[in-house]
Symmetry: C4
Subunit: 257 residues, 4 copies
């Protein structure tokens, strides 16, 4: 077993595809956006990736069926107005160890580089506060000025000198630029601790704007609406608890009085 075992399911040819990374991360923002793209645009899986650097476990899914920890590659042809070919990396995990992170990203990039990657987009989440936000912003960073300009044109907020992008979303850009492939990272604002469909929807809107394709976000919108209601209920419960506690104190005071 190598650091990454890439099982190719279909030999394909693509025309200077764009590589989109969307592995699980903060709020699963990138993963959710990419999973939705795969469903709505009908992408085809062409490779499965396993690695001993993934968590040493399996997941138990619906009906008790076991699922390996994996990454997957999908492709799409002639997407949007610009007839773009896309390769999308999704999965249920990232490598566990720091060195595994580098090695798995490196091996995946080696593999997809055979398709003459044009650019790299990495999709992730960014925590600005532990509280859910009304309208999640999308933040961006890039490997060069040209891609920064594209981010600005899409009215994406540029992160400046504010720390790191950890994991696959950072490494694919860093490893890419070392071999001359440029790219950008889109990060949806999220509290990070729940699956954030609203942030994913906002992210997907910006991505489709930059890549000039249309996508029906209705299902993501429904899911985001469910999330909004879930948050609203949680906030109401919290408020009720505070009210109750205050009322309780009032009672206590009367009692003491």
């Amino acid at each position: 077993m190598n650091t990454a075992e890439i099982n190719v399911l279909e030999e394909i040819e693509l025309d200077n595809p764009i590589f989109i990374e969307a592995l699980p991360g903060l709020g699963h923002v990138g993963k959710l956006a990419a999973d939705h793209m795969i469903d709505e645009l009908g992408a085809t899986k062409f490779a499965e990736i396993y690695s001993p650097t993934f968590p040493p476990q399996v997941l138990v899914k619906d009906e008790g069926i076991i699922e390996n920890m994996y990454n997957e590659l999908y492709y799409l042809r002639d997407v949007g107005e610009d007839n773009l070919d896309l390769i999308i990396l999704v999965g249920n995990t990232q490598a566990l160890s720091p060195e595994g992170q580098y090695l798995v990203c490196q091996e995946i990039l080696d593999f997809v580089s055979k398709y003459d990657i044009d650019r790299i987009f990495t999709l992730g989440g960014m925590v600005t506060s532990p509280q859910p936000v009304e309208n999640p912003r999308i933040f961006g960073a890039a490997t060069n000025e040209a891609n920064i300009e594209l981010l600005k044109e899409a009215e994406i907020e540029i992160r400046v000198n504010d720390g790191g992008i950890v994991g696959a979303s950072g490494l694919f850009l860093g490893l890419g630029v070392r071999r001359g492939i440029h790219g950008m990272c889109l990060m949806g604002e999220t509290p990070g601790y729940f699956i954030d469909a609203e942030s994913a929807e906002a992210l997907l809107k910006k991505l489709s704007q930059i890549l000039n394709f249309e996508i029906n976000v209705e299902k993501l919108d429904e899911r985001a609406e469910e999330t909004r209601q879930m948050i609203a209920r949680a906030q109401q419960m919290e408020q009720d608890l505070i009210n109750k506690a205050n009322a309780g104190n009032a009672d206590d005071l009367r009692y003491i009085g």
Copy 2:
């Protein structure tokens, strides 16, 4: 030294054996069940496995004799009504590092695959509560529908969408299904922090039902009975302490009064 050093003690031929994994885990449920099978059915050890991914220590056993950390493979022929051949994996440890877990399981699976494994059974424990339970349930998961059906026929509770199976009991199934070998995991309900003979007995009953063999569980039953009495004594002591504490308080109150 490879990741796993497998010392073959006897060259054997087996007829599409079933591979049973029962390395130490929660409550040592799987290990206890498999060790009992090995004793009662008279299994023969045919390979010893060592690895630098095991904990860097030796154990001091009876009479001060030192024991390496190891895994072992046993075989049995013509077991039960269906004349099944079995390979059983037991030992005193699992790999310590996440990557070691994958690599050791992979190497053992490579080795036993030479015997044309028919199916994989992994035996483990599952914690549902920190309290000992009266009649431990057996939970199951599997790599495909067919094996889920077998679990249901044996009235084993199917785990659904509830997280992961960590370590060898998960990995052997995940690595197996990637090479077309299907299987299932049986997990005995256990508080997890003591060697749980009662859960092991319940697990072994289900396993013997599925694999259609008979096994005398008297010794396991005795051991389970000892465990039950041990728990009862511990609970009685706890109750005595509570009573004493309450009585003490009562004394205190009288004293103050």
Copy 3:
């Protein structure tokens, strides 16, 4: 990808250069001193170093441009009165894992050894107290008596039997002496938790004295002055808070009284 990937940007010849290590560490004292040398003396970058043992991330710099984690080698020719050639190792990180530390230092030392290294200087910080000090001292240690004498001549305080030098500043000396290359470590006194320009300036003065070159430390002095003012403001604020708190207590006492 090897443990360290060294990309040579320029094939150079040097005359028995001195190798100076100044990777990030306590108070970034060494790094700051070396970065200033590179700027002021106009050193030329001739190699970039990447490693999967570096933290698995990229940094977001000014204007949102992404920066890899890296080490870099610069050279200088005919420095100072003694016409010394220098190789300077700087960067934004050290290896994350203990074993990575050894392997990356080993590979870099293998690489620079091709230039017939004369001596090794490693630059670092040393924490003597969590409080900022007025005039940071410079401490030293070395691989042999001859270099200890040089340290003493420069009135550098010799560390004696007081623990370890952890990371690249220790390892390059240890790995060097094993292949017959001697050297010394200069450590600037620092509280360690802020970028300590004052300690870096003091360190650079001692280094330039030992290596017999002149360097304009004005910019470092400005930066140190800024740091001093920043510390003074922080201390003033702390004092104000204490005064306020005391005054508050006095008020409280009057109020209660």
Copy 4:
């Protein structure tokens, strides 16, 4: 660099030597005993061992001279009444990572096995209580009955079924027995947190009894006496503090009274 780099300083021939491991561990009991043997009996260093699995640092010793982390092999010929040849493994560290522990011990054992090792003795400490003991006992364990008998003849207490021997003292025995070399572990009772010369002296007496050689333990005795006085002073200070505290309370009571 391999996992262990063994630099041979002298090519030697030995007559079925006994291999004694005494790397740093609890109370440095084994190391202290072996270092004393090396000094008193005039052993000769014949190999130095380095490894990237050792802690990534150097030590600063007397006069500011830097010392690598290392292991060393010494030999002695015709020791004691039985004219035994000995190889002694000492050093200032053990491997840091669990896997490094196995790999370094394995490589050292491969190396010394070329000398046709007769038996393995590993020397360590064992914590029975955090308090210093008056007459430290020596505990033992072994790879087989024959060596257990030797331990009993020397009136060494046999450890029974009581957990593990962690690190080099365990692994050399475990790895040895796997290749047919038997041995034993001697463990001096120690609180573990200071360098325990008294326990080392007791250990060395038992070792010299088993191996049938004489050794002047005067220096170790002096060092143990110093340790005893140090402990006595610490206990006196503790007692003084308790007395003072009680007296203080008495004062307090009078004051309140």
